[in-house]
Assembly symmetry: C2
Amino acid sequence: MTRLFPGAGRGPVLRQPWAPAVAGALALAGCATAPSTAPATVAATPATPAVPPTMQWLYGSGEGAASSIQAYHAFRDHVLAAARARPVDSVVLAEGSTLEAPRFIPCGDRPFAVVLDVDETAIQNLGFEYQDALQPGRGYDQQLWNRWEQTGASAVAPIPGAVGALRAVRDAGVAVIFNSNRLAENAAQTVATIEGVGLGPARHGETLYLKGDIAPGSEKDPRRAAIAGRYCVIALAGDQLGDFSDLFNARTLPVAARRAAATSGPLVTMWGNGWFVLSNPVYGSGLRGGFDDVFPADKRWSDPAGEE
Amino acid sequence: MTRLFPGAGRGPVLRQPWAPAVAGALALAGCATAPSTAPATVAATPATPAVPPTMQWLYGSGEGAASSIQAYHAFRDHVLAAARARPVDSVVLAEGSTLEAPRFIPCGDRPFAVVLDVDETAIQNLGFEYQDALQPGRGYDQQLWNRWEQTGASAVAPIPGAVGALRAVRDAGVAVIFNSNRLAENAAQTVATIEGVGLGPARHGETLYLKGDIAPGSEKDPRRAAIAGRYCVIALAGDQLGDFSDLFNARTLPVAARRAAATSGPLVTMWGNGWFVLSNPVYGSGLRGGFDDVFPADKRWSDPAGEE
């Protein structure tokens, strides 16, 4: 859309609700009592932070919901078609692949499966993010997240579109396997979390893989390889590039090069065609970069009217 | 993904880079010199604001790029299939439709077309957003945006996936029509902007509709109806719900109800199936709502360890 707010008469809306918080003056949309029908321009008491725009978009907006429903529609349609077609290759990269020369693990006659990340791919961590939004200066607290894994099962919701898509693929005889970096010691609670919102079943070691399974650490390639040894994996879903291949998280890859790796080369055809990304601007490996990383040098512009 | 940063040894990344800016203390990822390979934890000088996470995600990340490539792959595949199938109905809602009882304008034997929004649907307004990120407290300035429309043509880039998709649909004989709320007085510059990044041609009044065309104001329904009177519209693409129907922007629709309108009811099947949404957390009608609008009351959670 253009800068003009759609809908006549609404007028311009402050585009960066976090900005006034930065200035420390006006907190936008901080009214935590009744749901609001008006644009979010109500001054809040200083004690109430604003909901960050990333969360307004992902958890509150029709646009964010439509985006995930769309992704899960494509996921479902692709999986049902692939299950009928018996593909030669899976969508899991084989060992020795590079981003420029990818090879996929062959399927053989193994049964079909899909592999999905959990957090902000299949479920929304609403309870945790609510708390996070209330404490904007805090930063990541691994112990807090661990307590969330252990006790937050009733405060999550499925990502829009996920329940119907997983039901359809299971009905078509395709196994659903979750590949998450939640902790193995919290497996029972993670199972309860997934199953509690209608995305189950999930069984650790069979249809749920967690951090440290197969190999130590957070990389997901070893788990994908193990799954692809048992199944013909016909779709991957995730909100981070690491949900598709650890090659995207090579330490030598600067921000712009990492984006280029996703937008060019032979793997670009995978997006929406076996690899399904769920938009997540709230956290993750995409939230990196300074001005020169994010804005190409040849796309700079200055206001011809001069400094304001 | 979970809270743990993918890739062993990277350690936790500050999840809310805007938060320290809020505290006014540490600016995250503010290094505007060389591209960074390290996680964005470098302290910036107070004069350099941080790139907001919304822009890091949309303009800088492989995740954001993959999301739009995926959307445009689905758009292209749908359009090519529909053009072969000669659908009875278009994807444009007919007058008198409601969200609960939608009807679509029939196609007759009119030639095929797709209709796309421009800003953050077909193009990225990099030059403008770069300036906006440098001035975090400023808020929306309509005159500044007007000057951007007039002079920014060389500082935009196509949304990843758009160029190839539009080429494919044009090659299939489908007309490409832009429906934008940019100003009609800047039509020539908007044509130059679209054509300059390989998304053209665009001709005002034929394949480019602007604010105030057909009917006064920002609502896009009248323009869609006019286009659907000349073409069989088989796909819509946009980053805001108003790019699909003004019904989503009814003033009586609170935030949560607007999201529910997109996630339930008969129109939910349109996402990825004639209606293609491009994720845009940087600005727009999705960035609304306080805590009670965004976080359902039954999904609240408190840290069992108590206040920190």
